[in-house]
C-alpha cells in the first residue's frame, strides 16, 4: 500500500513535470551512438597509425626506423642518380615524406616531393632518429658529397650549438607550447650546416631550422620549430 500511496501522490504532482517528461526530446538510437563510437575509434586508430609511421607531423618523430638513403643500383627513378655503394648519403625525415608501402629493408622508399630532385636509393634503419623538418625545401640538397663520413656514423643527429655548448635533440620528446612562456629567450637559430657536420657557431644547427626560437630551461634547450617544441639536451658528441 505504501507504494500505491506514493503512486497516488505522484499522480498529483505539478503539470509541468508531466509536460516535461512528455515532450522531452527523444535521444538518438543506441545503435547510432555505437556506430559513431566505432567510427571515432577507427579515426583515432588511423590517426595513431599515421602519426606512428611518421606520415603526419607530430612534434618529434618517435623512435621509428629512420630512413637512410643508401646506394642503389636498381629501381632508380631518377636518371641522374649518382650514389654508390660506399656512400651513405643522408637521412630523410620520415614525417615530411610520403612513403610507399614496400618493406623498408628490401625495397626502396619512393617519395613524391623531396626526391623529385634527389636520387632514389635503398634505405635501412639506423639507431638514431630524425625529427620532422617541415621547413626543409624539397630542392635544398641535404647531401654534402664532398665530406667524407665514417661509415659507422653516417650523420649526426640534429644538433644545436649555443653558448659554446653542443646540444642534441632528445628524440621522441616534445613539450607543450605553454612551457616556453616563462623561459629565458636566447635567440633564434641564425645559421645551419649540413647534418654531416657539427655546428660550432653560436645558434647554429646542423639542419635547416634557421629562425627557430631557442629557449633555455635548466640544462636543456627548448626550440620552437614549425609550431612544435623540441627538447635539446647536452650532447656527448664532441
Amino acid at each position: 500500500m505504501n507504494a500505491e500511496q506514493f503512486t497516488q501522490a505522484l499522480g498529483q504532482i505539478g503539470e509541468g513535470y508531466v509536460e516535461e517528461a512528455m515532450v522531452a526530446p527523444k535521444g538518438r538510437p543506441l545503435g547510432l551512438k555505437r556506430l559513431e563510437l566505432a567510427a571515432c575509434a577507427c579515426l583515432v586508430l588511423l590517426l595513431g597509425a599515421l602519426i606512428g609511421y611518421g606520415l603526419l607531423p607530430m612534434g618529434e618523430a618517435p623512435e621509428l626506423p629512420t630512413v637512410v638513403v643508401m646506394p642503389s643500383t636498381e629501381e632508380s627513378e631518377e636518371p641522374n642518380s649518382s650514389t654508390t655503394e660506399t656512400e651513405p648519403i643522408t637521412t630523410e625525415p620520415i614525417t615530411t615524406e610520403p612513403i610507399t608501402t614496400e618493406p623498408i629493408t628490401t625495397e626502396p622508399i619512393t617519395t613524391e616531393s623531396s626526391q623529385a630532385t634527389e636520387p632514389s636509393s635503398h634505405t635501412e634503419p639506423i639507431p638514431s632518429t630524425q625529427p620532422p623538418t617541415t621547413t626543409q625545401s624539397p630542392t635544398e640538397p641535404s647531401v654534402t658529397e664532398s665530406i667524407e663520413i665514417p661509415p659507422a656514423l653516417p650523420s649526426y643527429p640534429p644538433m644545436l650549438f649555443v653558448n659554446g655548448m653542443l646540444y642534441e635533440l632528445l628524440p621522441g620528446e616534445a613539450e607543450n607550447l605553454d612551457a616556453v612562456e616563462e623561459l629565458p629567450f636566447i635567440g633564434t637559430v641564425g645559421s645551419c650546416c649540413s647534418e654531416e657536420e657539427l655546428p660550432d657557431a653560436h645558434l647554429e644547427a646542423n639542419e635547416p631550422i634557421v629562425g627557430a626560437e631557442v629557449y633555455i630551461q635548466g640544462e636543456r634547450l627548448l626550440v620552437l620549430v614549425s609550431g612544435y617544441l623540441r627538447i635539446y639536451v647536452r650532447s656527448t658528441v664532441q
Binding site: N2, A3, E4, Q5, F6, T7, Q8, A9, L10, G11, Q12, I13, G14, E15, G16, Y17, V18, E19, E20, A21, M22, V23, A24, K26, G27, R28, P29, L30, K33
Partner: protein, 185 residues
C-alpha cells in the same frame, strides 16, 4: 491541432473536440492506460471514460497543459480500474513499477506523522527538483507513465541496462530523501 483550439472546441461544446483530443493524445493515453492495466478491453473503456471526464471538466476548467491534464485523468482512471480489478492476475508494467517502489519504500511512512497527501506531493516535487532533467524524465516515465525499461531506453537513447541501473540509483536517492525528511522510518 493546437491545444488552445481543442480547448476552444470544448468550450463551444463541439464534439469535434473529443475527436481532436483522441487524434492528438489518443496514442499516448492508450499507452499509459495499457501500461497500468495491460488489457486492451479495459484500456478502451478507460479511455472512453477519460474523454467523458475531460468533456465534463472543460469547461469550467481551462488547463494550461492539455496533454498532461488529459494524461493525468487517464492515469487516475486507469489506477482506479486497476484497484477495482485487483483480484485479477496482474502482470502489467505498472505492477513491476509498483513492486520496485514497494521495495524502495520499505519501512512504511513514519507512524508519528500522519502524512497528508499534499505534504507527500510537495516532497515528491522537491525530490524531482533535486534531479537532473534526464533523471527526472526517466523517473517519471517509469513511475508516472509506467513505461517499460525498453520504452525508456528507446526514448532516451540509452541501453536498458543503463536505465535499470539509473532507476536503482534514483530509488535509493528517493528513499534517502524521504528518510531525511522523516517520511520514512
Amino acid at each position: 491541432m493546437q491545444d488552445e483550439r481543442i480547448i476552444d472546441l470544448f468550450f463551444e461544446r463541439s464534439e469535434e473536440a473529443i475527436l481532436a483530443l483522441e487524434q492528438k493524445y489518443g496514442k499516448l493515453c492508450r499507452q499509459i492506460s495499457a501500461n497500468i492495466l495491460g488489457d486492451s478491453g479495459a484500456v478502451e473503456e478507460c479511455l472512453n471514460d477519460s474523454w467523458l471526464g475531460v468533456w465534463n471538466v472543460i469547461p469550467p476548467q481551462k488547463p494550461r497543459h492539455l496533454g498532461s491534464f488529459v494524461c493525468r485523468i487517464v492515469r487516475n482512471l486507469s489506477l482506479k480500474r486497476y484497484r477495482r480489478d485487483s483480484a485479477q492476475k496482474r502482470n502489467s508494467q505498472f505492477d513491476t513499477a509498483l513492486e520496485e517502489l514497494q521495495d524502495c519504500l520499505q519501512g512504511g511512512f513514519s507512524a508519528e506523522r500522519q502524512l497528508e497527501q499534499k505534504e507527500l506531493v510537495k516532497s515528491i516535487e522537491g525530490f524531482l527538483d533535486s534531479l537532473s532533467k534526464e533523471n527526472r524524465v526517466i523517473f517519471l516515465r517509469r513511475y508516472w507513465f509506467s513505461d517499460s525499461y525498453e520504452a525508456i531506453a528507446k526514448r532516451t537513447g540509452r541501453s536498458e541496462k543503463a536505465i535499470s541501473v539509473r532507476l536503482v540509483r534514483l530509488r535509493e536517492k528517493l528513499r534517502t530523501y524521504l528518510i531525511e525528511r522523516g517520511m520514512l522510518e
